[in-house]
């Protein structure tokens, strides 16, 4: 059976207009890629929000897979934005195939 390797999966919730800043950070951490998922609504310390595309109040979820070293680089790079930009970041270990790609 195919052998798998362990990598970090990081997911970052961010205002859609700021996605670019997060993906730039991922690129400069030399992670091989990223994928963006849509999000429709939520609630947090700053209250409730809903996707209202006319006003552009939508958020996105950026997901990226990387080695734990690069993951640490990315997390450090994003740290300053976290509070000011209200990012939500979670990270955990996953098994991937073709590990050399990440």
């Amino acid at each position: 059976m195919i052998e798998t390797v362990i990598r970090k999966r990081i997911e970052i919730l961010v205002d859609t207009p700021l996605v670019r800043r997060v993906t730039d950070a991922i690129d400069s951490a030399e992670i091989t890629g990223w994928t963006v998922l849509p999000v429709t609504s939520g609630r947090g310390h700053e209250g409730r929000w809903r996707e209202e595309r006319v006003m552009g109040t939508d958020k996105s979820l950026v997901l990226t897979i990387s080695s734990s070293e690069k993951a640490d680089v990315l997390v450090d790079a994003l740290a300053p934005m976290l509070t000011s930009h209200g990012l939500l970041l979670t990270m955990w270990n996953v098994e991937v195939i073709r590990g050399e790609r990440f």
Partner: protein, 322 residues
């Protein structure tokens, strides 16, 4: 005749807006798909841009137009300065939120302008085509002064400067509005005729459905709102009253026709809820949309649609006869 005084509330455009407010207030699950709402807003901007461009292609440009454009730019720059002071002093907002809100009130609301066109037109006041250009040029100066105020002293990260300039001057609404204005100017009445069925005949109907959605969202935001307080609510009504009056007086001073005076008043009274929020989320992510969007969309916008437009029309008429 005083049609402007009562007609509005018999117009489907206004009635659909009221239906939206009511449905949300009653917590109905009525909702317009996001993609459709966004599509309608783009349609409305393209249509109003084309219309204005064609009108100017007919009328040509003159000193009056130049004066109106300059007045618009000046007002858009100036309004945030005063608004900022009041937001800091009276409403005690922090620098960043005060700057963000100020930018919204200096800038303009395309949909308020469009609705004013319909209501004024129904009341016999036909707004000059070049006012669309004034609308377009008033969108961005306020963003600049608002950002300047919000960042005074602070060295907060401002993202790449290029990114910001793009967001301010190549903002989707600015590009679409100016772009279709230019297209109307180039294509002229003959070219416009081809696309009139969609952009002209369909216009009011789409405006109805769009205002239905704006009513739904405006009321829902108010219900969900946590960040608003009485002082902010007061300002969200005081600003349009004051700025609108300034606009009418300025229009009168530079000698615009009555309809355009009223329109300039509406532009100053209106607060942006499409172009500026987009710019703010990029340039001032720390500012709270729960404040600036709820003020401009949930209070100022309905106030202008239901009261302001008729008010400034009346004021413009009064100045005309006196």
């Amino acid at each position: 005749m005083d049609t402007t005084a009562f007609a509005p509330f018999a117009s489907p455009v206004i009635l659909f807006f009221l239906l939206g407010l009511l449905a949300s207030a009653l917590r109905s699950d009525l909702a317009i798909p996001e993609a459709m709402a966004k599509g309608m807003s783009l349609y409305l901007m393209a249509a109003i841009g084309l219309k204005g461009g064609v009108a100017v292609a007919k009328s040509g440009v003159n000193a009056e137009v130049a004066a109106a454009l300059l007045a618009g730019i000046a007002l858009s720059f100036a309004i945030p300065l005063l608004a900022y002071a009041v937001l800091r002093g009276f409403a005690r907002l922090d620098q960043i939120n005060a700057g963000a809100v100020a930018a919204h009130y200096g800038s303009v609301s395309v949909v308020t302008f469009v609705t004013a066109n319909e209501i004024l037109g129904a009341g016999g006041l036909v707004v000059a085509g070049f006012m669309v250009a004034v609308l377009a040029v008033m969108e961005t100066p306020a963003i600049l002064s608002g950002l300047m105020l919000a960042r005074r002293g602070s060295a907060s990260d401002r993202g790449s400067a290029g990114e910001l300039v793009r967001e301010v001057f190549l903002n989707a609404s600015v590009v679409l509005l100016l772009g279709s204005f230019a297209i109307g100017l180039i294509a002229g009445p003959r070219g416009y005729a081809e696309v009139q069925p969609l952009f002209d005949s369909g216009f009011k109907g789409v405006l109805c459905l769009f205002l239905l959605d704006m009513g739904l969202i405006a009321a829902r935001r108010l219900i969900d709102s946590r960040s608003l307080n009485l002082r902010l609510v007061i300002l969200a009504i005081a600003f349009p009253l004051f700025n609108g009056t300034m606009g009418v007086l300025a229009g009168h001073a530079i000698g615009l026709d009555t309809a355009s005076i009223a329109a300039l008043g509406v532009l100053c009274a209106s607060a942006s809820y499409i172009a500026v929020p987009a710019a703010m989320r990029l340039a001032l992510p720390q500012a709270d949309p729960g404040i600036y969007l709820t003020m401009s969309l949930s209070i100022t916008f309905p106030f202008n649609i239901l009261v302001g437009i008729s008010l400034f029309a009346g004021l413009a008429r009064w100045l005309a006869v006196s």
